[in-house]
């Protein structure tokens, strides 16, 4: 594993984006990751305020018509190399909003998604498991 990749995987800065229709429960589960019980700052994972600082674009909620162009712009503004993580059933396949008039397409038809974490909402353990798998895949491990 080269140094560049190692530095990237050891310090993931996360920009959290909620696109449109969602019940915010996934957002609450994500905030759980930062609490003393799970404490992902142990692994260098931090929430940042601006997309320009981020390595991970973390998306929750089902993609709405209004949010689609904004999500696309945010993805384009993220400094590469970076990954997109979709959390929750809504972000994966629109969830219960599948037939909604204002949710035109699933997220991965708009921007490439690197990691899907299913669940409604996914448990914090599931999110950590997903991140570990992604890091292993990126660094060419198992």
């Amino acid at each position: 594993m080269n140094l560049k990749l190692k530095a990237l995987t050891k310090s993931l800065w996360v920009f959290h984006l909620c696109i449109g229709g969602s019940c915010n429960n996934c957002d609450i589960e994500i905030l759980d990751l930062l609490t003393p019980r799970y404490d992902v700052e142990r692994f260098g994972i931090m929430l940042v305020g601006s997309i320009r600082h981020a390595d991970v674009l973390l998306i929750t909620g089902s993609l709405s018509r209004k949010a689609a162009p904004r999500a696309k712009r945010l993805y384009e503004q993220m400094p590469k190399p970076g990954v997109v993580v979709a959390v929750g059933s809504c972000a994966l396949g629109r969830g219960i909003f599948k037939d909604g008039y204002n949710t035109p397409c699933p997220l991965d038809e708009l921007i490439p998604v690197d990691l899907y974490i299913p669940g409604c909402p996914p448990k914090p353990e599931a999110i950590i498991d997903g991140i570990v798998k992604l890091i292993k895949k990126v660094s060419g491990g198992e």
């Binding site: 140094l3 530095a7 990237l8 310090s11 700052e41 320009r52 600082h53």
Partner: protein
Amino acid sequence: MVKLFFSYLIFPGFLFSTVIGLIAGWIDRKVTARIQWRVGPPWYQNFVDLLKLMTKETILPQGNKVTFLFAPLIGLISVTLVATILGRVLVNPAESFLGDLIVILYLLIIPPIAIILGASSSGNPLASTGASREMKLVLAYELPFILSIIVVIIKSAGTIQIGSILNHQTNFGSNLLSWSGIIAFIVAIFCMQAKLGFVPFDVTEAEQEIMAGTLIEYSGLPLAIFKLTKAILVYTMPIFLIILFGAKDLSLLWLIGKYIAFLVLIILIKNTSPRARIDQAIRFFWGPITALAAIAVILALLGK
């Protein structure tokens, strides 16, 4: 010449202060984590963060690109110069030159100016909000900060040379151990908190309201340089205040002990206070803090 470059780039200067600053940043994160009953990151976390930022893509906004890219460098160069001057004085007080206190005061204002320059040249509305807040904050804390340093000058028999301030304290005891000294020290701690952009006065980078504010458009290497500037500032500011106020015994062990105690004090203030709005911060600095500083100056003139 070689010696000058060595001291600027390696020993008390760039490399040394980078390492100390990043480790101080780790102490900050670790103590914060322990206060919040978490485990906190490993000791090399800030080095990894910096390395990662240096390898990332740099996105240039529309606006003045030259100023945008040069602003972080200006800040880094000046703060490294401060670290060099202070480090050389600590190693050998005789190397101090006349008026280096004034030089350091000027150099310490340059990093905020660099942040203001960079933020304004990015053309982002949130960044310009941050820049205007930074400007107001600088105007607010500079007055009491300079008053508290005037107290030190008065107490050290009117010298503006750091070496002789050190010698004076070695002979007559720390400036801290007097009424005017302790009041000026409290004032200086608050001003330092604002200079470092730590919590009661972090309105310029308020992540929850203006999304990293002044740094919002920065990514990759320029952001890394800004983080580095801040890390070196976390190393130099407490050292500066230790030299000014508590320099009775500056053997290596005492210096490290004082520095860490001081750092933890700053972190505790940071973690136990809410964020002040910019108008509250200005009122705070121009009201009670300036009044305290003025009282300290009067006490120092009376010889207390």
